[in-house]
């Protein structure tokens, strides 16, 4: 049986169902509203597994599901060496969100990463600690800042209301997901640099470590045929 993991609730689930329906694969939740069970029609030998979107990368990496729908940001953040563990079969065109760095709007001297680095050095000399960046995307932000040679910063964990951390005095800058930038502007922040750290969207990922027997490969073949036909 090929196990397909999809987000268990909300808009992401609805968009996933619609996306598959457009390709002749019908996913549905079964039983009561509260029961996490589902059915798949249109292809053979596929079992629906309803999961929190945030857990799908881990389940793919562990090989407990064969395919999974989740954001490319979550895969990059949660899986070290993600390219060795999952493969993207398709970009799905929804769930768009950019991971960006933002600083207070009145920092007229900071427009680029090079500015941020220089400001961080001066900040550390002035305040005796590193410039704090609030985020929940630790791996991606750290990798990005290392690649760009930014030093003298530290990441502080923020699992929500990240845009408020600067005003609340718990961070000097933030790195967060944004789709429109409205919340950033409302909190007097501006986006740094021209390109986001990562432009994320929902992907259909294939696990490279799941057991791909004859039956699962046959089901995958049916699914990829449908994707190719769309």
């Amino acid at each position: 049986m090929l196990k397909l993991g999809v987000p268990s609730k909300g808009r992401l689930m609805e968009q996933t169902f619609d996306w598959f329906a457009d390709r002749g694969i019908h996913l549905a939740r079964t039983g009561s509203d509260r029961e996490y069970a589902g059915s798949v029609t249109g292809v053979d030998g596929v079992e629906l597994v309803l999961l929190s979107a945030g857990e799908i990368p881990r389940e793919l990496a562990a090989g407990r599901i064969h395919l999974g729908v989740t954001g490319s940001d979550l895969v990059r953040e949660k899986l070290a060496r993600w390219q060795d563990r999952v493969e993207s079969l398709s970009l799905m065109g929804f769930g768009h969100a950019d991971l960006i760095l933002a600083v207070p709007k009145f920092w007229l001297d900071v427009e680029t990463l090079s500015d941020l680095d220089a400001a961080a050095a001066a900040f550390r000399a002035e305040h005796g600690h590193r410039l704090r960046i609030a985020t929940k995307y630790h791996r991606m932000v750290r990798d990005y800042l290392r690649q760009h040679g930014v030093a003298d910063y530290q990441l502080v964990d923020s699992q929500g209301a990240t845009e408020g951390t600067v005003k609340n005095g718990t961070a000097e800058a933030i790195a967060d997901i944004t789709s429109t930038g409205e919340t950033l502007r409302a909190n007097h922040l501006k986006i740094l640099g021209e390109a986001p750290i990562h432009a994320s969207q929902a992907n259909l990922f294939r696990s490279l470590s799941a057991a791909w027997g004859t039956a699962e490969q046959a089901s995958l073949g049916q699914i990829t045929d449908r994707l190719a036909a769309a």
Binding site: F106, L108, G149, A151, G169, H188
Partner: protein, 367 residues
Amino acid sequence: MPDRAAIRDEAHRIRRVFEAQGAEPFEAEILQPADTLLDLYGEDIRARAYVTADPLRGEQMLRPDFTVSVVQAHMESGRTEARYAYSGLIFRQQDEHPERPTEYFQTGLEIFGGDPAEADAEVFATIAAELSDLPVRAVTGDIGVLIAAVEGLETTAIRKAALRRHLWRPERFKALLARYAAPAGLDGLRGGLLARVKAGADVLAEAGPEIGLRSGGEVLARLERLAADAEEPPIPAEQVALVDRILRLRGAAWAMAAPLREMSGVIPSLSAAAARMEARLAALESRGIDLDALEFEGSFGRTSLEYYDGFVFGFLVDGQRPDNWPPLASGGRYDAMTRVLGNGRAAPAVGGVIRPEQVLKLREAQC
């Protein structure tokens, strides 16, 4: 593949050799307070060291090396000259290199105080003696040459400090140097803003509310520095070319002091660096090191998460490139780190480590 007991025995055997030559045995705790390491290395250390949490002591890290502990203990002791030997496991995350071990033995020797050239030579020669039965070659470098070159540039202290800060981040260093080599002027995207700053305009008035710990005064101060910097004359092209030439120096170590002497016509501070190099080479030779076989690479030791600021060396298996992992042994001088950890004090310091597992592997392959 040698078994763990054999690796441990070899690690301790080498430590006892170092002790027999006068080093004190040193022990470090495996769990280290994370803040010291974070303060020293920055956030990047989280990708390299294992982080764990203690409900009372806060964030802890599994020791990623011994050097930091040795330096802390030495600086707290208040002594000037001392030498230490240690052997034990260190722990490194290998997210990007799953084939590499995440825990392995190191045996090390660290020398504080004394004549720098003699201490450099002693650490190098002591490690070389332990590897003398193996088909290895040594590559050396000298971060001190690069530091001397930066200090000798005809430019402002602010620019020199920025270059020094990024010595270990080659890309950022290169970009900075290119920027400082460009002609002065208040043009480009930011020119208008900086011109208004220079004219004394209240640029922050309409910039939005001041939020967070970084104040408007700090923003303005940096804008003023940028405005002043924009009018600085560029670093002379021949000096920039020399920095580039230093980074590309390659050849026999004994042949490197002469080009540095020649370059000191353009960057005078290089003559002192050349003198230090000559003193080190003489000390190495008097310890029986074959200078003809000693290689030098101008950019050796310039990787992030390192702290060397003088002599650096690595021992490689014949045919192995310097950037190939793992070295059999490596080390260098780190005077600046003693200042960071020394609460106002500093000491000349040099050290090196051997990886006994690699030594045993190579010895087995020899048989």
